[in-house]
């Protein structure tokens, strides 16, 4: 299945792009996606562990299961205000 990735802030600058598509096996979790991204983009490996995660614009835990077409966003430490 495919999920859509969007990058923001430090992740966007490090990845050098704003979005991406991730090919994952059916039933993959957020944690699986994180591992695969770290392997594919070694530059992101340092940042991903401190990120929260949102799927379809809602915060989720690492064991959340992904579904075809989901929008997956890793959320670096916040700095709003």
């Amino acid at each position: 299945m495919q999920v859509k990735i969007r990058y923001f802030a430090a992740l966007r600058e490090t990845a050098g792009r704003s979005d991406d598509t991730l090919e994952l096996p059916a039933g993959a979790t957020v944690a699986n996606a994180r591992e695969q991204m770290a392997a594919t983009h070694p530059a992101l490996a340092r940042l991903l562990p401190v990120c929260a995660v949102a799927v379809n614009r809602a915060y989720v835990a690492a064991d959340a299961t992904l579904t075809e077409g989901d929008e997956l966003v890793f959320i670096p430490p916040l700095g709003g205000g």
């Binding site: 430090a10 966003v73 916040l78 700095g79 709003g80």
Partner: protein, 156 residues
Amino acid sequence: MTDSTQAAESGQANQAATRIIRITREPLDDTTVRALVRQMTQSSDGGIVTFEGVVRDAARGKRVQALEYDAYPEMAEQEMARIADEVALRWGATHIAMLHRIGRMTVGECSVVVVVACPHRAEAFDACRYAIDTLKATVPIWKKEIAEDGEEWVEG
């Protein structure tokens, strides 16, 4: 962009909910802030509390030249709307504006404004403070400090 001015169906004419939630690239200048205060204040409101976050010249011992804010805009507006819902529930504060600017801002420019208008001041203070505190803790917005010796995405 989530703007709404809905007449509440409570029969209390002056208690219509007024809410403006927005991630924007436009400056949050004097005209904008005053317009928000005017829009939030209905005839039943006696206390209005406005919080403005402004780029300041120092942070973590550095001289800051500018800040650059990024956001996940759709989710940020959704989370801000959730905060407005909580504030309405806890303090009955239904006249609330929360705007966060993104992009590059120099010292003295406003990055965020929260306006809450309530019948009484205690609720307006509590609701405004809760809104900005919670915004900082939960809304996906990020800040890069641009100082003389480099740039860095920073927390908080």
